[in-house]
């Protein structure tokens, strides 16, 4: 699972190089570079408008970056720049090896489709054509995200916020992706619901050997979930390192301000 020698041998899962996205004269995110290795969880923190969501969406192909590369180690063809790959290939990646968890569950779910249909969609998108198997896997995933299998035919509109978010996670992970992008996955949830979600995510990350990039403004979330941390300000990464090191011994003025501005976590 987390065999270091194998990680070294296979290289990074994701290599971001000089990624820049501009909005006119304004820099959304500027010249961001980093490597993400298999099994690593990277947090990106910063205040609103710091460019963290722009960076995430540029990496995930939701926005077209102006400069830079997002190199992903694909199963079939090894390292490929996803910025220059064809749209069908990128969209296929988005249904198979990549997943994207939106802050608002309703952006990531089909609200008019049952929970089972929501989870099954990615399976059907990659060719599953056996109803019984699809339903079985959907039920299995609902239980893994702690939604009673008896709710399989209910629409997400009847679910609480926390359940919707867990359903979105199940829908994303059912095809066994290797990289998950998460945009404020615990935002807007009650604290107790957040804890449950964090615990769930941690378990899934470990059990599936997932790599993840998590954007959040919540330092408690990154401390518990992320191995590594990038701090962004005005579109640029001002500090990066081990999560606990950045939080406990921040080097940059802005990181120090950020860490000292929150209640002790």
């Amino acid at each position: 699972m987390k065999d270091l020698s194998q990680e070294v041998a296979t290289g990074p899962l994701l290599s971001v190089r000089g990624l820049t996205k501009r909005y006119g004269n304004h820099i959304g995110c500027g010249d961001v570079s980093f490597d993400l290795w298999p099994g690593e969880v990277m947090g990106i923190v910063g205040e609103s408008g710091s460019g963290k969501t722009t960076l995430l969406r540029s990496m995930a192909g939701h926005l077209t970056p102006d400069e830079g590369q997002v190199i992903f180690a694909t199963r079939a063809h090894g390292a490929c720049d996803t910025v220059t790959m064809s749209e069908p290939e990128r969209r296929m990646l988005g249904r198979t090896d990549w997943a994207f968890v939106h802050q608002h569950a309703r952006d990531g779910l089909r609200m008019g489709v049952s929970a089972g249909g929501n989870v099954g969609e990615r399976l059907m998108a990659v060719g599953a054509r056996h109803y019984g198997d699809i339903r079985g896997q959907a039920a299995d995933w609902l239980e893994r995200v702690e939604i009673a299998a008896s709710r399989i035919d209910d629409r997400p509109t009847t679910f609480s916020g926390g359940m919707q978010q867990r359903l979105q996670i199940a829908r994303n992970l059912v095809t066994g992706p290797r990289l998950v992008f998460m945009d404020e996955p615990t935002g807007g949830l009650d604290v107790s619901v957040q804890a449950r979600l964090l615990d769930l995510l941690r378990g899934l990350v470990r059990d599936m050997g997932l790599s993840a990039v998590i954007v959040t403004h919540d330092l408690a979330v990154v401390r518990l979930l992320a191995d590594r941390l990038m701090v962004m300000k005005d579109g640029h990464v001002v500090e990066a390192g081990l999560t606990d090191q950045v939080l406990d011994d921040p080097q940059h003025a802005y990181s120090q301000l950020l860490v000292s501005s929150v209640l002790q976590v």
Binding site: E87, P88, R91, R95, R110, G112, V113, S114, G116, G117, G120, E121, R122, M124, A125, V126, A128, R129, H130, Y131, G132, I134, R135, I152, D153
Partner: protein, 284 residues
């Protein structure tokens, strides 16, 4: 109304050429929805404006024309469209499937097998089969372009989850020549096997400004699951008038005490059978 009042088949020649180009493109890319500049027609949307424009573009003065609505030649919609072309194109009309060169239809495929010499024109209300789950046209066009059709099966999945079987009984989605997923217009799924036909089949959606087509003998597969295969079943009765047990039936309420009868929805087929001496249990 005089013959000079309208160009042949109502539309001007340039418009008909534009529609023919869309039809040819549709035939060249089976199942692909070709946008066309739909004209205002002297009838409301929903009354077959798309089908009428396609018929106008393919009719020649020598053609014999037939119109059916839910299989019947004698309903308001069928009668008014037939009259429309009698007046504006002076074409011969018929109710006999075998005698027609062009058949415009709403919601049915005739029971009598079509031939290579015939054209079947469908009236289509909603051409986009993916709209049910994805309302954005920009997105559905991309999904067609990239063959991302998982969503169609989500629709069927929802059916089975809710009803225990695929409850979609009409407008049942099909995949054409292994490529485009197509809405066959609201024909009953019973008619889906007949989509593989020697005739040319043209689909016109007036309000949505789309034309698509099936060339003769196109492979048309109804979507399904391995463990819930496509089933083109119909009501398990014979026709009360002609006794046919292989035709699609309409249920007719005969009184207010629960009395009902099942009769062929294809009036020409039923009449021809009765003329040939086949009688059902309620035939007079």
């Amino acid at each position: 109304m005089t013959d000079q009042s309208y160009n042949f088949a109502y539309l001007d020649e340039q418009t008909k050429r534009m529609i023919r180009r869309a039809i040819l493109k549709g035939l060249a890319v089976p199942g692909y929805q070709v946008p066309f500049a739909s004209r205002e027609m002297p009838m409301p949307y929903g009354w077959g404006t798309g089908g009428v424009q396609v018929s106008a573009a393919v009719l020649t003065p020598d053609d014999t024309f037939k119109v059916i609505d839910q299989g019947a030649d004698d309903t308001t919609n069928a009668v008014s469209i037939r009259k429309f072309f009698e007046k504006t194109a002076s074409v011969a009309t018929t109710t006999h499937t075998g005698e027609a060169d062009v058949i415009q239809t709403r919601h049915r495929i005739p029971e009598e097998p079509l031939t290579e010499d015939q054209i079947l024109v469908y009236q289509v209300p909603i051409p986009e089969p993916l709209r049910f789950l994805e309302p954005r046209e920009t997105e559905t066009r991309k999904m067609h372009a990239l063959e991302e059709y998982g969503l169609m099966h989500v629709r069927l999945y929802e059916d089975i989850a809710r009803h225990g079987h695929i409850a979609t009984a009409y407008a049942y989605p099909v995949r054409v020549e292994g490529r485009y997923v197509m809405d066959p217009s609201p024909i009953p799924k019973f008619d889906n096997p007949k989509l593989e036909s020697p005739a040319i089949q043209l689909f016109g959606a007036g309000r949505e400004q789309r034309i698509y087509a099936l060339p003769p003998y196109s492979k048309v597969v109804s979507l399904d699951f391995e463990d819930h295969p496509f089933d083109p079943s119909k009501a398990p009765h014979p026709c009360a008038l002609c006794g046919a047990d292989d035709s699609y039936l309409d249920e007719i309420i005969t009184d207010d005490r629960g009395g009902r009868m099942f009769v062929c929805s294809d009036t020409d087929y039923c009449t021809a059978r009765r003329d040939a001496g086949h009688l059902g249990e309620q035939a007079q």
